[in-house]
């Protein structure tokens, strides 16, 4: 018979090791990318166009393209997602329509991203006539992250005790006033967490923009939302698989990967800081 104490020790040790394993793997990936990619990064790499079949020069257009796509998709998905989440939680509650929408959005979240890419091509590129463009790519990416934002908004609102709503309504505030003045400000930090996750998701996706927005190579930066762009994940894919000199472009590939990781981390940090700041404000202000 194994004593309860031993069992507990074994269990905790297992959990701890598994937890550390996750951190170790993440650290390994990051370390590897930094080790191989750091050498490639310099001012020129960040601020110039690729040259000589992508074995030389920089990745400026890909960085700019990814930023545009991230901003564009979130500009669409954030308001739509937050408003849908509010509607579902505050207006529908648990009625059948809310359940239907919830099941649908969850299914939407489970669709492979390449399918979004094809759908985006059919709808935005062709039917709406946006062409391969920042707009079409942003719309497609927005569809991809919409479930995430709706979900996190709904959860954030659900976490707010009904006491707050009742207190506000009892003072004669209407439903919308209560949402705008009490519920939403309190929920905002958690909604922003959803936004953080979306940024990570959007900036790393290749499939949805493959047929809707990206170009193999661009001679100049995009001048409007109907222009094609380069993007970091796709650029990485291109130089790792289909250049004229794949081995020669390898350092550039690692450099590109590192830049992508840094951008995602930076945006996450920024969003976390914003979140902490808002959280503090609603508590102290």
């Amino acid at each position: 018979m194994i004593s309860r104490k031993t069992k507990q020790r074994v269990a905790f040790t297992t959990f701890r090791l598994l937890g550390l394993a996750v951190v170790a793997i993440l650290g390994w990936i990051l370390g590897f990318i930094i080790y191989r990619g750091a050498g490639a990064i310099n001012w020129e790499f960040l601020t110039t166009f690729p040259r000589k079949g992508m074995t030389d020069g920089g990745i400026l257009p890909a960085i700019v393209g990814t930023l545009y796509l991230v901003l564009g998709s979130l500009a669409i998905a954030f308001p739509v997602g937050v408003m849908s989440g509010i509607y579902m939680r505050e207006y529908l509650g648990d009625r059948w329509l809310a359940r239907v929408i919830r099941v649908m959005t969850n299914n939407l979240g489970g669709i492979p991203s390449i399918v979004f890419g094809l759908f985006g091509m059919a709808l935005f590129v062709r039917a709406f006539g946006f062409g391969d463009s920042i707009l079409a790519g942003s719309c497609t990416l927005a569809l991809l992250v919409l479930p995430l934002i709706i979900r996190s908004t709904e959860e954030a609102l659900r976490a707010i005790p009904d006491d707050h709503r009742a207190g506000s309504r009892a003072l004669g505030a209407g439903k919308l006033e209560t949402i705008l003045r009490v519920t939403l400000p309190v929920a905002m930090p958690n909604i922003i967490t959803g936004l953080i996750l979306s940024v990570g998701r959007v900036s790393g996706e290749t499939a949805p923009i493959l047929f809707t927005a990206v170009a193999y190579s661009m001679p100049k930066l995009p001048s409007g939302i109907l222009d094609q762009v380069m993007a970091l994940p796709y650029h990485l894919y291109v130089i790792a698989t289909s250049g004229t000199d794949i081995a020669g472009a390898r350092p550039k590939a690692y450099g590109t990967a590192l830049v992508l990781v840094i951008i995602v981390l930076a945006v996450n940090l920024l969003a976390t800081a914003t979140r902490a700041c808002i959280g503090k404000k609603t508590k102290r202000d």
Partner: protein
């Protein structure tokens, strides 16, 4: 003083028995009726939570609603600011008048009603805002913009809730930094800020320690000069201490309603006698 009060209650009971209560009769006794219900039934879906409740609540006095858990006293309290409306599938029959106006009439603006009928909840529920903003909330919701007016009203309300001295140096601090009892007084100040005529209190001291409870009770005693207060309480001593009239509910029925003195000393119904003596419930 006590005599006139007794006389008022007697009149109310007599007119009730006569079956034809009129406002004039109660007014002659020196007390005005603020809230009145006539044969009110209330349903949560198929469950009948209130049965044929007819009552008259005096203005500028404290009326306590007592009874065992689930007897409908909180439901009854929430009729008066229509908070029950927020629950799906509820239904009311009968009449519910405040200041002579049928508050369930189609033309009633519920948000406007809630400004006239303030509410304090069982658990202190300040907003995650500053002390100042908590009290200013109702004013802002009402469209108040003038800073000096809001500031003056906030101070006035905090003074009326006996909280001003404790918080005047930290109005910008979070309401959550206050103790439970202070939070509850803040919620009272918040309710007073919009100048209601009726104040509903749903077990306002049940989550508080004895000292905070004493402060709330003292406050209720002061507030009844200006407000009509209806309070739900589980605490017999509290009902006896703070209220002028007491209504005893059981299983959705109003068993007995009369002066607190009478309800506690010499009730007409045996059920009431057993309940106030603490023998059941």
């Amino acid at each position: 003083m006590i005599e006139t009060k007794e006389a008022g209650i007697l009149t109310a009971i007599e007119t009730k028995d006569a079956g034809k209560p009129t406002a004039i009769e109660t007014k002659t006794a020196g007390k005005q009726t603020m809230i009145e219900t006539k044969n009110v039934n209330f349903y949560y879906a198929d469950f009948r939570a209130l049965k044929e409740v007819t009552i008259r609540v005096e203005a500028r006095a404290v009326t306590a609603l007592i009874g065992p858990s689930g007897c409908g006293k909180s439901t009854f309290l929430r009729l008066f600011n229509r908070m029950n409306d927020l629950i799906d599938g509820t239904r009311l029959t009968g009449e519910c008048l405040i200041d002579g106006e049928d508050i369930y009439h189609k033309s009633v603006d519920v948000d406007a009603l809630r400004k006239r009928v303030g509410m304090v909840f069982q658990k202190p529920n300040p907003f995650p805002k500053s002390i100042f903003e908590n009290v200013a909330y109702g004013l802002r919701v009402n469209g108040a913009r003038d800073r000096s007016f809001i500031a003056a009203r906030v101070e006035e309300s905090l003074r009326a809730a006996a909280l001003w001295v404790e918080v005047r140096d930290k109005l910008r601090a979070s309401a959550f930094a206050l103790s439970g009892g202070q939070q509850q007084r803040l919620c009272i100040a918040r309710a007073l800020a919009v100048s209601p005529s009726v104040l509903l209190m749903d077990e306002p001291a049940s989550a508080l320690d004895p000292i905070s409870t004493a402060k709330i009770e003292e406050l209720i005693d002061q507030l009844k000069r200006d407000y009509t207060i209806v309070i739900v309480t589980h605490n017999m001593q509290q009902a006896a201490r703070v209220s002028d009239s007491t209504a005893f509910f059981m299983l959705g029925e109003l068993v007995e309603f009369g002066s607190t003195k009478k309800i506690f000393a010499d009730p007409d119904h045996d059920q009431t006698r057993r309940y106030v003596a603490g023998r059941f419930g």
